[in-house]
Every structure is written in structure tokens, then in C-alpha cells.
Symmetry: C2
Subunit: 226 residues, 2 copies
């Protein structure tokens, strides 16, 4: 392993940490914009997605260069391929933050309180922890942290199902709240998708760390439940 | 380029064509199950997702082996990395077929006609064409076919928006149809996501063919609009 290779791997890690930080901030900003009804914050989240997109392109190019110039094998190769997948998942998380920010804007425009998403702050908190553990697990090759992520995904799925049931009941009882309830469902579903993507990342880390495929072994796959 | 390498690339292509065929069949089956209210067909689509998942794992392993053993560079490397991403996107398309099949089951269980998804057969047809063009574009390195996919995505976005608006109106006018309308929204949204994934594939093909990044250049990215 050349010194140059080690440096490039470190740069790749640090860029993924930076990108993960941007994705995390975007989700937190979108949730805050929704809860505090802050139009300018929602708009900022939407505008800043361009930074996440730009980082995805940059990291993809780094990966291509690393593979072409260094021709890594074995665990180095798996690490770099996992980085490529994680990069793609982080970009998608940014897209879900934009979706939540758009729901926040719609809610502000409508001029009425959004329908309650049951335990939204708890859902957001667990999702953030999942993303952080998945990325820490990647950086430190800690498969244990990633196993934790797989478990948390079940909690988020249950919270989302509970939200959908509660919001359907609300729509029945109060048809005037239809659009707010649809927005709230959208927010819950987008957070659930972020948790799925954190789970994808955790699976890819376990794959890279242990060279075995976890995907599709832990019961139902983290499919986009929409 | 060794003869072995050429053979492995051909095997990779043929596996991706096969996987794409499975994904296409799954979507078509789920839509047919929904329209014809066929429980057994919906259940088959859900059960057969395991084949798509298994192919994803197998193709991933082929890619790792190809990179490790052949150490390709330049356009071969980009082709193989595009195959890795396309593989992931096809698996996600399978997940969306499962979601549509689940909506079909819910509709059969409810024992009432599903709410109408405006132009559902047309949406399904365009989406199938998009997927087919994206994969053909990949196999034949035909960026022109892929440009066509990017254009079709706008049509699907508009059809989905039209569906959501019509279904919100239906819910308002006839609150008893609430759950059928939510199912119909879910179907429309899942088809729209399949179109997004076909668009992702097309972008990756253009990237592989022309070594330039199309992603995030063609207006709004095909973000998961949920």
C-alpha cells in the first residue's frame, strides 16, 4: 500500500464524513422548519441540496481515480466500493430532506398548523443516530455499530405505521384536515426512507468489513415503504 | 483485454438484462394484479422479489471479482461501475413492484374497486419503455436512447402530479373513498419512483459512455418525490 494510496483513502473518508454531516444537517433543518414554521429555513435546505449533489459527483470521481490508479484488491477494494454505494445513499438522504422541507413550505403557505406526526422529534432523533452510527461504523470498520442500526430500523418502521394509522383516522374524523394530514404522512414516510438508507449503509459496511452479504438476510429488506 | 475479461463482461451484461427483465415483469404483474383484482398474482410478485434480491447479490460479487482480478481502467472501469449502480437501481425497482402488489392486495381485501389512477396503463407503459431504453442504452452504449429516458421522466412527473390532485379532490368529495384513494396515490407514486430509477440508470449510462456527469445537470434531479 503506497503512502499516496493511504492519503487518498483518508481523503475519501473525510469527504464522506463531511457529506454525511451535510445530509444530517439538511434533515434536522427540514424538521425544524416544519415544527417551527420557518419558511426561510425550509428554503435554505432546498437551496443547499446543490452542495450535497456536488459532493456526490466529486466523491464518485475520487472512487474512479482510486480504482484506476491504485487497482486495490481484497478489503481495500470492498471498502472503496462500499464508499461508492454510501455516497449514493447520502445523496438520496439529501433528496428526502428536500421533500420534508417542501412539506414545511406547503404547511407555511397553507397558513394552518400541520397535522401532528406522532413522535416526530423521536423519529428524527432515532434516524439521526442511525445515520451517525452507520457512518461511524464505516469509518472505524465497526460492524457492531452497524448491527445496532439494523435493529433501530424496526422501531422506525413501527413509528411510521403508527403515524399512518393515526393520520388516516384524523382524515376520517376531520375531512378539513385532509391536506395537512397528507403532508404529515409524507414527512413520516420520508423519515422512514432516510432510516432505510441508513440501514442500506450499515449493510454495506458490514459487507465491506466482514466480506459477507447481510442484505436480504435480516428479514424484509429495507424496501421503500411508500 | 484478455478473452476471459471479454467473457466476464458479456456474462455481466446478460445477467443485468435478465435482472431488468425480472424487474419489468414484476412491475407489469403488480399493475395487472391491481387492475384485474388478482390476489394470487399480487402474491406471486411479492414472493418472486427474492429472485431479484438474489441476482443483486450475485451481480455485486461478479463486479468485485472483475475489479479485483482484471483491474480494468478507463472506459471498462466506468462500464463496470455503472453496472454496479444499475444493479442497485434494478433491485429498488423490484421493491417498488412489491409495494404496488401490496396495494393490489389491500384493494382485494377491502372488497371494493380501487380509486382510479388517472391514465395508469399509460403511466405503466411509459415507465416500462423508460426502463427498457435505459438498459438497451447501457448494453449498446447508446447515449441517445438514454437522453430519451430523461425526457420521458418529465411526462411521468406530470402524470403523477395530476393523479395526486385528482385523488385529493376525490377524497374531499367522497370521504368514504379515503383508503382507496390513498392506495391509488401510493401506486402512482411508486410508478413515478420507478421512472426516477430508470432515469438514474440512464444518467449512469451516459456517464459510462461519455465519461461526463449528467447527474444534477438536467434541471431538478429525479429525487424521490413522495
Amino acid at each position: 500500500m503506497t503512502r499516496h494510496f493511504v492519503e487518498e483513502i483518508e481523503a475519501l473518508k473525510s469527504n464522506l464524513i463531511k457529506m454525511s454531516g451535510l445530509a444530517e444537517e439538511a434533515i434536522a433543518g427540514a424538521i425544524r422548519a416544519l415544527l417551527d414554521r420557518r419558511r426561510e429555513l425550509a428554503e435554505r435546505v432546498i437551496a443547499e441540496d446543490i452542495r450535497i449533489n456536488a459532493m456526490e459527483v466529486q466523491i464518485d470521481e475520487t472512487v474512479v481515480d482510486l480504482l484506476a490508479l491504485q487497482q486495490p484488491v481484497a478489503s481495500d477494494l470492498r471498502f472503496i466500493l462500499a464508499a461508492l454505494k454510501i455516497n449514493n445513499d447520502l445523496e438520496r438522504i439529501g433528496d428526502h430532506a428536500v421533500n420534508i422541507a417542501e412539506s414545511a413550505l406547503a404547511s407555511v403557505d397553507r397558513g394552518v398548523e400541520p397535522a401532528p406526526v406522532v413522535e416526530l422529534p423521536r423519529m428524527a432523533h432515532i434516524t439521526k443516530e442511525m445515520l451517525r452510527n452507520a457512518i461511524d461504523g464505516f469509518i472505524h470498520a465497526d460492524a457492531g455499530l452497524c448491527q445496532q442500526v439494523l435493529k433501530s430500523d424496526d422501531i422506525i418502521d413501527d413509528l411510521n405505521k403508527g403515524n399512518v394509522a393515526a393520520l388516516v383516522m384524523l382524515m376520517r374524523q376531520d375531512p378539513a384536515s385532509l391536506e395537512q394530514a397528507l403532508d404529515a404522512m409524507r414527512v413520516s414516510r420520508n423519515l422512514e426512507r432516510v432510516a432505510d438508507l441508513a440501514t442500506n449503509i450499515a449493510e454495506d459496511v458490514i459487507f465491506a468489513a466482514e466480506a459477507r452479504v447481510v442484505k436480504h438476510l435480516y428479514g424484509p429488506s429495507p424496501s421503500p415503504r411508500q
